[in-house]
Amino acid sequence: MSIGVFEAARSVIKGLIIAVLAIIGAYIGHWAHGAILNDYTPVQPIEFSHEVHAGENEIPCEYCHSWAGRSATAGVPSVETCVGCHKGLTEVRDKPDVVKLFDYWERGEGIPWVKVHDTPDFVHFRHKPHIRGGVECQTCHGPVEEMARVTRRVDLNENLRMPWCIDCHTEEDVANGRDCLTCHY
C-alpha cells in the first residue's frame, strides 16, 4: 500500500488551517475581552453619578477633585466633603446609596473607590501642569458629566497610551514634551 504525496499534504494543510483559525480566534477573543469584558467601567462601592453631580447640578470638577491644579494627583473628596453637602439635602437622604454614604461617615471610614484611570508605575503623570496649561479634564477623562457610572475613554485602546500623549505634546509644542525623562523618571 502506498500514500500519494497529495494525500499526505492534505492532512498537513488541514492542520495548518486549524492552527490559523485558532490564531484568528485568539485575536477575536482578545479583542472581545477588551471591548466587552473589560473593567473600564468598574462597579463602585457607592453608585455615585457624575451625570447628576457634574451634569445636572453643574458642580465644577475641582470642587471635589480639588488638588488637580495643585498636585500630581487630583484626589478623591473626603467623606467629610460629601457629607458636608448631603447633610442639608434631606430630600435624597433615603436613597440607598446616600444611606451607604452616611454609613461610611458614621463608621469613620473612607470609601474604597475603584480606580478607573490609572497610569502604570513607570509613568509619572502629573495633573498640575496639565490643568494649569489649560487642558480640559474631558480631554483625557471623556465627558464624565454625562456618565452615570464613570468609564475609561476607550477608542480601540488608542487613548491614554503613550503615542497619544506624544501627539498632544508635539502639537502643543510642550517644553521638553518629547523628553523621556519628562514622564519616565
Partner: protein, 728 residues
C-alpha cells in the same frame, strides 16, 4: 471538499483560539486598585504632595534632628535636618531604617495582658490602667512607693523628666540602664576638668586626633555629628589635613579610616596616655608649663609603656613627637577603653593628656553642665536582692530592653520573675516586655511629643523638639501619656505632680517653663511655632549652665593594671564586644533594613560572628564559618568564626545587638548575644558595668556554616593592589 468531520475540527480550533484570547485578555489585565478617600482629612493633607516635618530621631541618645517626608498622612522618608547643630543634615543607617519600626508588622497595636503561659492577649487601655493605677495609689498613700522600681534609659528629655517626677511623687526607685553608658567618662571629666557634664570634642578644628577606643565614625556617642566634623578635620577650610591615630584592640570603622592603628593590649590605654603625658611634660615648652604639674608620679616611660601595651616603642615615640608638635591636638577616650575594670582611671589619664596638651579649653570644651546619672552595678544588685526578698511589688520598664542589652549574670530575669507585677512600656514584644505581665503599647517617635537636650554637644544649648509627623497607626500611647494617665488615675500626690492632659500639653508647658527660666521675653506661642518649623532651638549657654574647666585638678595617679573576670589559663582570650553602626546595643535588630545591611568592615549581614586574628585561627585550626563555642564564667554561645586581621591575637571580637529571644520576626532567634557572656564586673571607681572586662575560651564544635556576607575574601590574591610590597 469539506467533510462534516473537518468542519467540526475547524470550529473546534477556532473555539479554542477564542477562549485562549479571552483568557489572555483576562490575565494581562492590570489588577484593579482602590483609591481610599479620607474620612476627615488632616488640615495639611494634599494627595500627591509631600510635607516635610522637622523632628527628633530617637534611635540612639545622640539626638539628631531629622526631616520626615510625609505623603497622604504617612511618613515615607527620613533625611537629616540641615539646620540641626548636631548632625547638620546627616543621618545614619539606623535613623534611615527607623521607619521600619513605625510600619513593622510585629509592632504592638494595643495594650497586651499576659495569659500566664508565655502568651499575650489583647486588652484595652481602660483595663490596663485599672490593673495598675489602684496599686500605685495605694502604695503612694501607704508610703510604700519604694516597692516600685522604674527601669529606664538615659535620654535628657521632658519625657524622662515626667518619669522622674512620677517616681519622685511615688517614692519609687529609678534605675537608668544601658550597656554602653558615658558614666566613666562623666567621672573622668569631673576629676580632670572639674566639669559636671560631657565635654564637647571639637574634632573639626583639631589637626591631630588620638582616639583611645572611641569609634566615633562608627557607633560612639554621635557618629553622624562626628563624621561631619571628621570631614572638616580631614579637609577643613584652611586646607589642612588632620592626622588620626586610633588605639584599640580591634580595628573599628574609625580604625580603618585612621592613619595609624595601634592595637594596644586591652586595659593598658590609661598607662599609655599617662606615659605620653609624662613624656610631653618632660619636654620644655609652653604647653608643659600651663598645667601646673611638675611631673606625673607613677607614669611609665615610653619604652615601659610600649612593652606593657605590646606596641613597638618606636611607634609610641613617633606619636609623642606628633603630639608635641601638633598645633591643635585632641585626645578621645571611649568604647572598650571606657568599659574596663579600670575605665575611669583610663579616661582620667586620657583627660590628663588633654590638659598637658592644652587641648582642654580649646579642642575639648565645656558643654551643657548636665547629664543623666546612670545606675551603678550596685544599684542593679540592690534591685535584684530586693526582688529576691519579695520587696518588689511593681516594676515599670520604660522603653529599655535590659534582658537583652545587659548581661544575664546580673540576674535581672530572675528579679522580674519574682516581682509581683511587671509592666513594660514598649512598641515591640522585646525580650524584657515578653517577660512582663502587661505590655503597654507605646507610640514610635513619629507619633508623639517629646524633646531632647543634645548631649554629644555643640558647645551650645540645643534642644530638639519631637513632634508627631503623622497620626497614630494603632491604639498606642506615648510613655509620657501613659505616665500622665497613671498619675491621674492614681490620684493624690501623683495626680498633683503631673496635672497635664497629654504629652502635647505637658511638653508645651515644660518648654513654656524653660522660656520663663531662661528669661526669654518673646511671645511663647510664636516662638514655639518657630521651633516646630525649625525642629530645634539653639542658644548660647547662659551663665552657670556650663561650668568652666578648672585648672586645679591634681595630677592623676597611675592607673591600676588591666583586670578581667576569668583566669587567663582557663580563659585565654579577652572578649571585645563592639557595636556595629546599625545594630548598636540591639535596637536595630528588629528593623529589616538593618538586618540586611552588611557590617562595614566584614560585610556580614543577618547574623553574629566571632572575629579571630588569622594567626590565632591557624593555631586552633579554624577556618571562616567554623562554629566555635565561646564560653566565659557567665555563659556560652555558639557562633561562626571570621578571620579578621584587624584584631589582636589575644583578643576575640563579637558584634553586639543580635541574639534576641523575642522582639519580632526580624530579631528573634537571629545570631547570638555576647552580652550574655559578660561577667557582672564593674568599673572600680564609678561602679558602672565593665562590659569589656571578661575573658573567654574557645572550643571548636566541628560544625560549619556559610555566613551571609557580600564579599568573598579580604585578601588581594597577589594582584598587588596595595602596591609592590602587597603580599596579601
Amino acid at each position: 471538499m469539506l467533510s462534516r468531520r473537518d468542519i467540526f475540527k475547524y470550529l473546534a480550533g477556532g473555539g479554542v483560539g477564542v477562549g485562549t484570547g479571552l483568557l489572555l485578555g483576562e490575565v494581562n489585565q492590570r489588577p484593579l486598585e482602590t483609591l481610599l478617600s479620607t474620612h476627615i482629612p488632616p488640615e495639611d493633607f494634599a494627595p500627591g504632595m509631600d510635607t516635610w516635618y522637622n523632628t527628633l530621631c530617637r534611635m540612639c541618645p545622640a539626638g539628631c534632628g531629622i526631616s520626615v517626608r510625609v505623603r497622604e498622612g504617612r511618613a515615607k522618608k527620613i533625611e537629616g535636618n540641615p539646620g540641626h547643630p548636631v548632625n547638620r543634615g546627616g543621618t545614619c543607617s539606623l535613623g534611615q531604617a527607623s521607619l521600619n519600626a513605625l510600619y513593622n508588622p510585629d509592632r504592638l497595636r494595643s495594650p497586651m495582658r499576659s495569659d500566664g503561659e508565655g502568651g499575650f492577649v489583647e486588652s484595652s487601655w481602660d483595663e490596663a490602667l485599672e490593673a495598675i493605677a489602684p496599686r500605685l495609689g495605694a502604695m503612694q498613700s501607704a508610703g510604700m512607693g519604694g516597692r516600685t522600681w522604674i527601669l529606664t534609659g538615659g535620654f535628657l528629655s521632658s519625657g524622662e523628666e515626667a518619669l522622674d517626677k512620677f517616681g519622685e511623687a511615688l517614692g519609687a526607685n529609678i534605675l537608668r540602664l544601658g550597656l554602653d553608658t558615658p558614666a566613666t567618662e562623666l567621672a573622668a571629666a569631673k576629676a580632670m576638668y572639674g566639669f559636671s557634664g560631657l565635654p564637647h570634642y571639637d574634632i573639626g578644628s583639631a589637626d591631630l586626633v588620638v582616639s583611645f577606643g572611641a569609634d566615633f565614625l562608627g557607633a560612639w556617642r554621635s557618629p553622624v555629628g562626628y563624621s561631619k566634623a571628621y570631614g572638616e578635620f580631614r579637609q577643613g577650610g584652611d586646607g589642612h589635613r588632620g592626622y588620626l591615630v586610633q588605639i584599640e584592640p580591634r580595628m573599628s570603622l574609625t580604625g580603618v579610616n585612621a592613619d595609624e592603628w595601634l592595637p594596644a593590649r586591652p586595659g593598658t590605654e590609661g598607662a599609655l596616655a599617662l606615659a605620653l603625658a609624662a613624656d610631653l611634660l618632660g619636654r620644655s615648652g609652653p604647653d608643659a608649663a600651663s598645667v601646673g604639674w611638675e611631673d606625673l608620679p607613677g607614669a611609665l616611660s615610653l619604652d615601659e609603656a610600649a612593652a606593657l601595651a605590646d606596641l613597638p616603642a618606636e611607634r609610641l615615640r613617633e606619636l609623642a613627637e606628633r603630639l608635641a608638635t601638633a598645633k591643635a591636638p585632641l585626645v578621645l577616650g571611649g568604647g572598650a577603653a571606657g568599659a574596663g575594670a579600670n575605665a575611669t582611671e583610663t579616661l582620667t589619664c586620657v583627660a590628663a593628656l588633654n590638659r598637658v596638651l592644652d587641648a582642654a579649653g580649646t579642642t575639648v570644651r565645656p558643654n551643657l553642665a548636665h547629664a543623666p546619672r546612670y545606675s551603678a552595678l550596685s544599684e542593679i544588685e540592690e534591685f535584684v536582692a530586693g526582688a529576691a526578698n519579695g520587696e518588689v511589688s511593681l516594676v515599670i520598664v520604660a522603653g529599655v530592653d535590659p534582658l537583652h542589652d545587659l548581661p544575664d549574670s546580673l540576674g535581672l530575669r530572675g528579679a522580674l520573675d519574682r516581682a509581683e507585677l511587671v509592666v513594660a512600656l514598649d512598641s515591640f514584644p522585646s525580650d524584657t516586655a515578653s517577660a512582663a505581665d502587661w505590655i503597654l503599647a507605646t507610640d514610635t517617635f513619629f507619633e508623639t511629643w517629646d524633646d531632647d537636650i543634645s548631649l554629644p554637644g555643640t558647645g551650645k544649648l540645643s534642644v530638639t523638639l519631637q513632634q508627631p509627623v503623622q497620626k497614630r497607626l494603632y491604639d498606642t500611647l506615648s510613655v509620657t501619656d501613659i505616665v500622665l494617665r497613671l498619675a491621674q488615675r492614681s490620684g493624690g500626690a501623683l495626680a498633683e505632680a503631673l496635672p497635664y492632659q497629654d504629652a502635647e500639653a505637658y511638653t508645651r508647658s515644660e518648654w513654656a517653663a524653660a522660656w520663663t527660666n531662661l528669661g526669654i521675653q518673646d511671645d511663647f506661642d510664636a516662638g514655639f511655632r518657630q521651633v516646630q518649623q525649625q525642629g530645634v532651638w539653639v542658644a548660647d549657654l547662659a551663665e552657670g549652665m556650663a561650668d568652666q574647666f578648672s585648672d586645679d585638678a591634681p595630677a592623676p595617679a597611675a592607673p591600676s593594671g588591666p583586670q578581667f573576670a576569668g583566669d587567663a589559663s582557663e580563659y585565654p582570650f579577652v572578649l571585645h564586644p563592639f557595636q556595629t553602626p546599625g545594630l548598636r546595643e540591639g535596637k536595630g535588630a528588629r528593623l529589616p533594613w538593618i538586618q540586611e545591611l552588611p557590617d562595614p568592615q566584614t560585610s556580614v549581614a543577618y547574623g553574629s560572628w566571632v572575629e579571630l586574628n588569622p594567626s590565632t585561627a591557624d593555631e586552633l585550626d579554624l577556618r571562616d564559618g567554623d562554629v566555635v563555642e565561646v564560653s566565659s564564667q557567665a555563659g556560652a554561645v555558639n557562633a561562626p568564626v571570621l578571620r579578621y586581621p584587624g584584631v589582636r591575637p589575644d583578643v576575640i571580637a563579637m558584634p553586639l545587638g543580635q541574639g534576641h529571644q523575642a522582639n519580632g520576626r526580624y530579631a528573634q532567634g537571629r545570631g547570638v548575644n555576647p552580652a550574655s557572656l559578660l561577667a557582672a564586673r564593674s568599673d572600680d571607681i564609678t561602679g558602672a558595668l565593665a562590659w569589656a572586662a571578661t575573658r573567654v575560651a574557645l572550643r571548636k564544635t566541628g560544625e560549619r556554616v556559610r555566613m551571609t556576607k557580600t564579599s568573598g575574601v579580604s585578601r588581594t590574591l597577589g594582584r598587588q593592589i596595595l602596591g609592590p610590597d602587597d603580599e596579601h
